[in-house]
């Protein structure tokens, strides 16, 4: 895995997107909120984007804070591939 690998995390609703933003900030995990790419979801308008090297601490945070996540996608160029959380 290279540092350039990007992931997109889909959450059930905007409440949880902002919960992730708040908790990630508290742990100094850099993430970005993006409009959800149409290819991967037609639903919650926003998603969380992160770099590959921040995947592990972010997933750990989701577990510790009991934040329900819907799906995780790996992005390469313009392709999205759903990947397991572990």
């Amino acid at each position: 895995m290279t540092e350039e690998t990007a992931y997109v995390l889909i959450l059930p609703s905007i409440h949880y997107v902002l919960k992730v933003e708040k908790e990630a900030k508290a742990r100094s995990i850099p993430i970005e909120l993006i409009p959800t790419p149409r290819q991967i979801s037609t639903d919650c308008g926003m998603a969380v984007e992160l770099r590959g090297d921040h995947r592990e601490p972010l997933l750990r945070m989701l577990l510790e804070k009991d934040i329900p996540a819907e799906a995780l996608f790996r992005r390469s160029e313009k392709e999205f591939e759903e990947v397991p959380f572990k």
Partner: protein
Amino acid sequence: MIYLDNAATTFPKPDAVWEAVISCGREKCGNPGRSGHRLAAAAARELFAAREAVAGFFHIADSSRLIFTANATSALNTALYGLLKEGDHVVTSSLEHNSVMRPLHALRQRLGIEFTAVSCSPRGELDPADVQKALRPETRLVVLTHASNVCGAILPVREAKALLPEIPLLVDAAQTAGVLPIDVQELGIDLLAFSGHKGLFGPMGTGGLYTAPGLQLAPLLQGGTGSRSERLEQPAFLPDLLEAGTPNLPGLSGLRAGVEFLAQQGIATIRDHEMRLTRLLLDGLAGHDRIRIHGPADPERQTAVISVTLDGRDPGEIARTLDREFSIACRASLHCAPLAHQTLGTYPQGTVRLSMSVFNTEEEIQEAVRALRAIAEGNL
């Protein structure tokens, strides 16, 4: 004007509340959670910040378990209709507001639920042991007002819960949110319904409901949430499960400013001030042979809400004289709580209710005492 109708809605509000409403309306009022553009994101952040602030105020660990409603009535209906099923039994008190009694009555007619309204004393005291005695095997819920909207009496919700740890407790905090400290964990509250526009100093059209982990309510309303849009079923997760439709975002921005004002002032400081005003009013009216005070008549055991009657005078007429002759705003009659008046012995004529907030001054209370004594003397 001397405003002593704060139990109906607080007035004035802190300036910061109205500034927050305007700033939200001018700069952040997209539809939260419905779109990905920057204005929608700003709106979603505003809603999230309000939810976190209010949840923190009540010591709610997971803010997703706090849903916003239009008022305390809507929160109470959401809890009662969402939880109760045919054959369930509910224990409540004889001091409840119609926002509890009317849904319970309707549910009795529609679903065949049953309820027991435990009698409080004529001074508004509830013995928690009487709540325990009213339990049945099919009791699903205990509903208690945290304080009477008629006489201010504070009910022993913590003590009642301690006797009945296994039965969910719904607390109607319309009169106490922002007035008494409320920690849902410490008081053992499973469901907390509150109004935004009273002690929390938010605008009208705001309120909320907390549900403890492990309690799942059926939604009263179904509709758009911005989530799981492809499905016909309402999403099963909170807050979306119980928050269909676009929320009152400017109002909730104001509510957050109200809660921030309370945190800044400190609930203990506010309570001290209101207790001092309550003592002043009680002492000023005591000892007059035609003035009767209903309820605890003890600042320690009540909120800053006092019900009085004057022998031989109609409460509506007294309130009108206070308004016209003294510019004192208060409320007369039954205060949407007929059962409470039966308990206090003031049914059907009702009482004159004087209710204070942190913005009232000792001079205003002294003026109210002078006015009521003058009316009692028959000088007006």
